[in-house]
């Protein structure tokens, strides 16, 4: 539609398309939800003659009921994703307003739309929320939880989660009850337990909202893990308080025994949840040990075991969130050591995808439910709730930090405290818990309204202003640094050093216990849970291999070694030179030969081609699969650096022979087949060079053994023996080509390996 595309530029056009689709979708849904008879054909078939007369065969028929449920679900998800897409097309908007706010607004609009049409907008069903929408987000968070900062701050996190939430709940509940006692408010019917129940629902920091907002502000690791960890761990407290007050408000009275049981319940819920999660985590790790032959289903094990952990703990009224976190944390190191690289990538992307969809849906449904839900508005109550939320949070954080800082080495500064307090957002969990309240609570609607108002306030006001505030206060941001092998080495180095110094000092400190756990892990646990010989591999080596693999893959994709800076430093710059080096020109020639070999292979890849090597035999492409070539290319590139080093060792050129004529080079090379090097050297055979034709070269590539560490399943450096063999083959090939006094010297100048 050319006119359409001219009239509206770029993103606006896309937006209009999206809105159009939305309208059509909703319209279709609404229309078609009227019961449709299967014989409602577009071709003329008379509805009046039903029973005995033969109807004309309905060529086209609409049967919406048949597909209704999946259709609606798919439509909603599609809507959510299109919205998400739309936001990122408007750069200015997505920079100012966090995505969660925009999604709620969209939800409001859609809800309003549905109401205008006359339909009943769907409310966020609590069961749907807790069983389908929440688990992916939590699993994503738990599986990728940064363990080191988490364990270093676990004490602080627990204090905030448990004591902070308790303080919030009681402070708010108590003060609201006091408020309700005031005659003028008109809420004298609300008793203490109902208020405390309300307090416990509203007091919990919500992980979904925190994730959504903090994701975009890139704050420093410490504050991020504090708020985020708190939002995850306070689930146990929330579950216990909610169930407790729910039970009590039905009964009406509380005894000391009940309170005591409540405390016991808390420990059971949290520890039980963690235990269930850990069990499933170990099961998953153990299963992954045997999946080497069925790699395709590996990611499914991760998802299903975690989901089972969640459902099992929900079944026993334990904390599902803690189970999910525990499962993810426990299984991750073992599963990652066992599964293939592709499975790991799949797991990562599926988790991110599902959690993204869930989050989007949750916020949209929040908006829709706001329009839908029954409301009872009471100005005083609602406003007081919002204010009390803020006040209790700030007081709680300040008070607790004061106590915590006495025990911390790295103290929390005022800025950190502010962000922790301000980042305590409420979200959909509070809403769902409120929705779960049975209708016997007479204040249910009022509570729901207040909860929604609090959520809106925290997400909109706090969510939108936190970014400029972070900038204003110049809070430390997350370090955007690539993983550096030096840092990794020193991290491990420091661990051992500090353990040692603690030993010298003579007390069982943090590092001592960590060391003990590591040793236990290595000797007993890893043996059972990790396939093959991998369990002996220390972290540093795993890290190094991952980096190598990543570099190799990037090399294949972009055709060159990745480097942050334009750096021409290579291995030979660091290698100590034991032999007087070759003259510069000769080195350049050798390097050129090696690189041109690589470029030959590069031709077959979709990378930039060098003008010298545009001619290439089409036959070869049939013979060799691209995969093998890719592997060869990777290995050859790797060999380049090694070969350059070895070259400087092998070619002991006396200083006076300076002239680099090609013929002379070759002769010199032949005569110098006595190789001198400190390392163990592959022997070189100079066979009678038959004019090597292209199939030969190809077949030589086929001989190249696959380097184990570059394969998806890393098997340890048994590759050393094959490394040498590999180098030997390369060396032979190079030697053969160089020593071949080919018929056309000039041609070889340009293209030394054309005939190889």
């Amino acid at each position: 539609m050319p006119a359409f595309s001219c009239a509206f530029p770029g993103y606006r056009r896309d937006l209009l398309v999206i809105v159009f689709v939305v309208f059509v979708g909703i319209g279709l849904h609404v229309e078609a939800s009227a019961p449709a008879y299967p014989s409602h054909g577009t071709e003329g078939s008379h509805l009046t003659n039903i029973t005995n007369t033969k109807k004309t065969f309905p060529v086209l028929a609409v049967n919406y009921q048949h597909v209704r449920k999946p259709f609606e679900i798919a439509l909603w998800i599609l809507l959510a994703l299109l919205m998400k897409l739309g936001f990122h097309l408007i750069p200015r908007l997505s920079g100012v307003v966090p995505e969660s706010c925009l999604l709620i607004v969209v939800g409001l609009l859609v809800g309003g739309l549905i109401k205008v049409i006359g339909e009943e907008p769907p409310v966020l069903d609590s069961q749907l929320f807790f069983l389908c929408l929440l688990p992916p987000i939590i699993l994503d968070a738990g599986y990728f939880l940064p363990i080191r900062p988490f364990t270093e701050n676990v004490g602080t996190i627990l204090v905030f989660a448990v004591i902070g939430t308790l303080w919030n709940a009681f402070f708010m509940g108590g003060l609201l009850y006091a408020l309700c006692q005031i005659e003028s408010v008109g809420l004298s019917g609300v008793d203490l337990l109902a208020c405390l129940l309300f307090g416990s629902i509203v007091s919990a920091v919500d992980p979904v909202a925190v994730l959504a907002v903090f994701e975009e502000i890139h704050i420093n690791e410490l504050v991020h893990i504090l708020v985020f960890g708190e939002s995850l761990l306070n689930d146990a407290v929330t579950v216990v308080l909610y169930n407790l007050f729910d039970e009590f408000s039905k009964v009406g009275t509380v005894t000391i025994l009940d309170v005591f049981l409540g405390v016991v319940c808390f420990f059971v819920v949290s520890l039980g949840g963690i235990l269930v999660g850990a069990i499933y985590g170990f099961l998953a790790a153990f299963t992954s040990r045997f999946t080497s032959h069925t790699r395709v289903i590996e990611p499914l094990f991760v998802f299903l075991y975690s989901y089972m952990a969640y459902l099992s703990s929900e079944m026993f009224h334990l904390s599902g969130i803690m189970a999910l976190i525990a499962c993810g944390v426990v299984m991750r190191p073992y599963v990652e050591a066992n599964i293939s690289h592709k499975s790991y990538t799949t797991t990562k992307y599926f988790l991110k995808m599902w959690s993204s969809v869930s989050e989007t849906l949750i916020f949209i449904f929040l908006g829709v439910s706001t329009v839908a839900g029954p409301h009872a508005w009471n100005w005083t109550f609602v406003i007081t709730t919002v204010i009390l939320c803020l006040v209790s949070r700030v007081l709680g954080v300040i008070g607790l930090t004061f106590i915590i800082n006495k025990f911390r080495i790295v103290k929390l500064t005022k800025k950190d405290q502010f962000i922790v307090a301000y980042g305590g957002l409420r979200g959909a969990i509070a809403f769902s818990l409120g929705y779960l309240l049975s209708n016997s609570h007479k204040m249910r609607n009022l509570f729901l309204t207040a909860i929604i108002t609090v959520i809106f306030f925290t997400v909109f006001v706090q969510g939108m202003t936190i970014r400029p505030l972070v900038e204003l206060l110049a809070v430390k941001k997350k370090k955007e640094s690539k993983p550096s092998i030096n840092e990794e080495i020193h991290t491990e180095f420091l661990d051992h050093l500090l353990t040692g110094v603690e030993g010298v000092c003579g007390h069982y400190g943090h590092y001592h216990w960590k060391e003990k756990l590591n040793r236990f892990n290595k000797t007993y646990v890893k043996r059972w849970l990790i396939a093959g010989e991998n369990f002996k591999e220390p972290e540093l080596i795993a890290f190094y291999r991952k980096m190598e693999l990543k570099q190799a893959i990037m090399m294949v994709e972009s055709g060159q070694l990745p480097s942050a800076l334009p750096s021409t430093v290579s291995m030979q710059n660091i290698q100590p030179r034991v032999i007087p080096r070759v003259s510069k020109k000769q080195e350049e020639e050798i390097r050129r030969i090696l690189r041109s070999n690589l470029q030959n292979n590069k031709q077959k890849m979709r990378s930039r081609s060098y003008s010298r090597h545009t001619l290439f035999d089409a036959d070869e492409e049939d013979n060799v699969s691209e995969v093998r070539l890719r592997k060869t290319k990777m290995e050859m590139e790797r060999r380049v650096s090694v070969m350059e080093r070895r070259m400087s060792h092998y070619l002991t050129v006396p200083a006076n022979r300076e002239s680099p004529r090609p013929g002379v080079r070759r002769v010199r090379f032949e005569s110098d087949n006595q190789v001198f090097s400190a390392d163990s050297v592959p022997t070189v055979h100079f066979e009678q060079p038959s004019p090597p034709s292209t199939p030969d070269a190809v077949s030589l590539e086929e001989e190249v053994p696959k380097r184990p560490s570059l394969k998806a399943d890393i098997e340890g450096p048994r590759g050393n023996a094959s490394d040498n063999h590999q180098e030997e083959l390369d060396y032979q090939r190079l030697a053969r080509c160089l020593s071949d006094p080919g018929p056309n010297k000039d041609k070889e100048e340009d293209n030394p390996f054309m005939s190889c």
Binding site: K411, H490, V501, G503, V504, I541, M571
Partner: protein, 218 residues
């Protein structure tokens, strides 16, 4: 004698506290530990440290012990090692592991970083020539992975090489093919570990309370 001795030690401790930055209680505890390790002698030798059982499984055992006797860590600007150290030297080495105070200025923080990184640098630079050469770095990584069996030994070299390459790339950028990168100088070391928050990581908890009951045995 008891009173005057304790008065003398009090005065000494105060002096030490001022110079090293520990609190009096911490110095008291460390003194107890020192006495315990040195078997009530005035000085500590390598043998005494080597007999600590907690260090047995530590891959960096030898380097840690050497660090205590390294003159460079004892604020003496010369190379070499001493044979025995007194309590003051013990404290000086330990002071490298004190955490940063809560409110310190930027330059104090920078100074602290330099001090701690200098300690690490000295541990790597075994021949005290001011640079960490490839051989020294290789040896350091090999020691680190020494408890990992044969797998560790083979890849240790590759890891050290990759690390060195990284340092050279970051600090020197472009190098001609025939240039040679001598080794990591202290300035380079600072540069590559710029984002490494060593001032918060490199600390040991020197408890104020009596840790005698918590000692992890000899």
């Amino acid at each position: 004698m008891g009173a005057s001795q304790s008065a003398r030690t009090e005065h000494e401790f105060q002096d030490l506290a001022d110079r090293t930055g520990f609190s009096l209680e911490q110095i008291g505890n460390l003194n107890k530990r020192f006495r315990q390790l040195s078997k009530n002698e005035e000085t500590l030798s390598r043998q005494d440290l080597a007999s600590i059982s907690a260090l047995d499984n530590n891959p960096l055992r030898a380097q840690i012990i050497n660090a205590f006797f390294d003159k460079r860590n004892l604020r003496q600007n010369e190379a070499g090692t001493v044979q025995v150290i007194g309590f003051e030297e013990f404290l000086m080495v330990m002071s490298h592991f004190r955490p940063a105070a809560m409110h310190i200025t930027e330059e104090e923080r920078e100074k602290l970083r330099r001090e701690k990184l200098r300690f690490l640098f000295n541990m790597h630079d075994t021949d005290s020539d001011g640079t960490i050469t490839l051989e020294e770095y290789r040896r350091a990584v090999e020691e680190l992975l020494s408890k990992a069996g044969t797998i560790g030994q083979e890849t240790a070299k590759a890891i050290a090489d990759a690390a060195m390459l990284e340092v050279a790339s970051t600090t020197r950028g472009k190098m001609e093919p025939d240039e040679f990168y001598e080794g990591i100088t202290f300035e380079n070391f600072l540069q590559i570990l710029k984002t490494f928050d060593i001032e918060t990581r490199m600390h040991v908890r020197f408890l104020n309370m009596d840790t005698a009951t918590m000692r992890c045995g000899k």
